[in-house]
């Protein structure tokens, strides 16, 4: 077995693990998520390996997608006291760091902002030189504050990063034990949003160090000598070492993995993906095998950021959603409340007393689960209208998400996707591929490596083609540095937008490339190009997400 990799998705309820050899799925497992994350990963991986009849020693790489760090921010738990240093004076003083943060989150991290001279203009000129004495004084204040994490953000650092590095070196002399996050590694243009993301990253750095170290140690203890990677929000991988420093990049990796897994399982690179869980359905667009990214600001835990997030429409509609009759001739309602992970004891067909979407799926013959005889005649009579309502809402979501008026193929994944079958309006076809219930773990397993640049240049001295070519080369170099095989690197996104209201033809160039992991390049590319249906069919009753 040349290239065995294990994909893991750590969700709020379940931890899914898959074992894959090239394009073949050898085995999979669904186990409960544990509070320490590591326990659930270990039992999932162990069980999946056993079903795959594979020894831990054969595994070359483990890829993990987790919502652990997002949840820590949302719950305001286990966060570090954090200082933010912005390099931008004399500009930017009008809106200091933490300006629009929820008070409880700022208090939870004892967040304090400091302004220092530095930063760049849009064309790369310095706004002001770095002031070393000023930075040493700030380091002394931060030491008194007791912060253990530090976020550094310079104006226009996505264009030139060197000031952030130099400031980090100076500040670290006075703060040797503080973990440092640099904004240019995390976000794109948009100072407040990038700074916010960098601060979120900094306040997670302690938790990330502990968690990632524990996961890697536990996997190695299991006699797995594999390289460990974590999924990023754009569906590509980062090394465990990088993830220890940049946990914020794992935000939203769950939905991304599920869409990438759907692309892989269906063999489609352009499609609409509907991931139906226990409580919600995420609807998103695959473009060239990757999720389309949101262009608007994304809030995480009440903080405005500009992450590379998949552009998803989330409906309160899942396998555990409660179904109620309509009033005065209106259709039945489905959700938004749900029995969630308690489906297997609260749904009617499983012996409970709540009419759920899964019950009406059973009543209409879409799924064969539990004991259909438990459904009353009234409940059976309601079922067709309820399923029609599910289809209507999904069709509306498809129409909103798709990128052109033409009909598009739809891929259904997730345990709750048993609610729909056959054609949906606006869809050319609707496919529910084999292993749809572990699409997210498969998405983690097939992760690639990316490189990205987002810069502003003048077209006065260079042609547009040269500019894009140079940005492409820079992005490719970044991908290779992150572990990509240079021969497999391809452009997945390239756009140039002229800066409005400015003469001098300044243009913002954004290029993103991806490539296969160096260790396993050939097969991965082949998989993406033409993935075929997998061998075994395995239905699951689990619709918890």
């Amino acid at each position: 077995m040349a290239d065995v990799r294990v994909g893991v998705d750590v969700g709020g309820t379940n931890t899914d693990a898959v074992v894959m050899a090239g394009r073949r799925l050898l085995g999979w497992a669904k186990t409960p998520t544990t509070a320490d994350v590591t326990g659930g990963i270990l039992s999932g991986v162990r069980e999946a390996l056993a079903r795959a009849e594979t020894t831990p020693a054969a595994v070359r790489a483990v890829m993990i997608g987790t919502t652990h760090f997002t949840n820590a921010v949302v719950e305001r738990r286990r966060l570090e006291p954090t200082a933010a240093v912005r390099l931008g004076l004399p500009a930017t003083a009008s809106v200091p760091p933490f300006a629009d943060w929820p008070a409880d989150l700022r208090d939870a991290i004892d967040g304090r902002g400091y302004l220092a001279h530095g930063g760049y203009e849009y064309d790369g000129r310095e706004i002001a030189p770095l002031d070393e004495a000023e930075l040493r004084d700030i380091a002394r204040q931060i030491r008194r504050q007791g912060a253990t994490a530090l976020a550094i953000c310079a104006v226009f650092s996505p264009i030139r990063a060197d000031l952030e590095w130099r400031a980090a070196a100076i500040l670290q002399e006075g703060l040797p034990d503080v973990r440092v996050s640099l904004s240019h590694e995390i976000g794109r243009l948009g100072l407040l949003e990038r700074e916010n993301a960098c601060i979120l990253n900094a306040c997670l750095s302690g938790l990330a160090a502990t968690t990632v170290t524990a996961i890697v140690a536990a996997l190695h203890e299991m006699a797995l000598d594999a390289a460990v990677y974590l999924s990023q929000n754009d569906g590509t991988l980062m090394s465990a070492e990088f993830a220890r420093r940049y946990p914020v990049l794992t935000f939203a990796s769950g939905p991304t993995n599920s869409m990438r897994g759907a692309a892989y399982l269906s063999g489609l690179r352009d499609a609409i993906v509907i991931d139906v869980g226990g409580t919600t359905a995420d609807v998103g667009a695959l473009v060239g095998g990757f999720p389309r990214e949101a262009s608007l600001a994304v809030e995480v835990g009440g903080v405005r950021t500009n992450f590379r997030m998949p552009d998803l429409l989330t409906l309160g509609l899942g396998g555990g959603s409660l179904v109620r009759p309509g009033v005065a001739g209106t259709p039945p309602t489905i959700g938004p409340d749900s029995v969630g992970y308690r489906l297997t004891d609260r749904a009617i067909v499983f012996g409970g007393h709540d009419l759920t979407a899964t019950d009406v799926a059973v009543a209409t013959g879409l799924a064969a689960l539990g004991d259909p005889a438990r459904l009353s005649p009234d409940q059976r009579a309601l079922a067709p209208a309820a399923i029609a309502e599910v289809r209507r809402r999904l069709a509306e979501a498809i129409d909103q998400v798709k990128t052109s008026a033409a009909e598009v193929p739809v891929v259904l994944v997730g345990g709750g996707s048993i609610l729909v079958d056959g054609a949906l309006p606006g869809a050319s076809t609707a496919i529910r591929p084999d292993h749809f219930e572990v699409a997210n773990a498969i998405g983690a397993a097939i992760g690639q490596v990316s490189g990205e640049v987002d810069q502003v240049h003048s077209l006065d001295e260079t042609s547009r083609d040269d500019l894009i070519a140079r940005a492409r080369d820079d992005a490719a170099a970044r991908a290779v540095a992150a572990g990509a095989d240079p021969d497999t690197v391809e452009v997945v996104d390239a756009e140039d937008v002229p800066l409005a209201y400015l003469p001098g033809s300044a243009t913002r160039v954004h290029v993103k490339v991806v490539g296969a992991l160096r260790a396993a390049s050939g097969e991965l590319q082949e998989n993406l190009a033409r993935s075929s249906p997998l061998a075994t069919r395995n239905w699951s009753t689990d619709v918890g997400d």
């Binding site: 500009a91 009008s94 809106v95 203009e121 000129r125 100072l191 209201y501």
Partner: protein, 366 residues
Amino acid sequence: MWEIDADVLESVSLGAGILGTGGGGNPYVAKIWARGELERGARFRILDPTEVPDDAWIVGSGGIGAPTVSVEKLRRGDEEYRALRVLEEHLGVRFDGVVPMEVGGGNSIRPLIAAAQAGIPTVDADGMGRAFPELQMVTFFIYGVPPCPAAIADDKGEEAVFTAAPSPQRLERLARVLVVEMGGTAGMAFAPMRGTDLKRTAIPRTLSVARDVGHAVRAARARNADPVEALLAATGGSLLLVGKIVDVERRTGGGFARGTLRLVGSGPYGGEMRIDFQNENLVAYADGAPIATVPDLICVVSTDAAEPITTELLRYGQRVAVVGIRCHPLLATPEALAVVGPGAFGYDVAYRPLDPGGPLPWTALA
């Protein structure tokens, strides 16, 4: 005299986003800045134009530059204020009030801050009654206030006074070139004028309009009523189409975000519509014929929240309502149409005023 507090600020910035007709940039950063100023004790006092004495000195205020830069290199915080002071020194007068350049995007908010820093009120009026891309399009210049003197100031303490320019168009060009050297954003003070000229040339009570439109939409959202209905009622606007964006075609050039938007849905002009934009929405067509043109306001808002969508964020699949609002009469005169009519933006189309859908929000100073 009335005041803008933190709650009214939310309404004004939402209303100004809607009146921005797709342009003017995102007011988010300016709003957060203004909120911080209020927390630090600033007071945004608003003076009705009728309260401005005829011999008072009023100055136009706003930012000039690229929105892409102003969301990255945030303001130092006194650019508009220093431009105002420099112009005072040059003229040897003290200004008694500030009037915003436009009531769209961040430039509806920044003048409030400059006025508060100078300890003077902001006049409830502006120079565009919406957003436009260039300086010569303010009504002050259209109705004869001379283009100079004007002043700009940047984040590094650099300041400049323009003492002579043959036309507002030349002032716009000269200022724009200097702004590039200043790093892409600057604060500007311009069109210093007496109270008589302000009352003659400014579009009156547009901050009130922005506030009322924002209030109406926020109130509708809060009570789960239709916010687009609320927007129509507050603006006397007519609903041109409710539907979905089916195509956004973008072209580049000339420092403008140009493009064409196609929509399908339903409305009084049929089920299909096309809108041409250059930073702002300029001309809407149905069946190949123009049904609404600049300077009338063509506002594209989300159907569920009446949230304004700036032209750079338009995208396939968005559910939108297109609302047309008849512009203030000061923008519809022959001399105004020569500068802000369809022809000024390169369209071979005559301005045809929209029928109001109800009482218009604009007032006149009789």
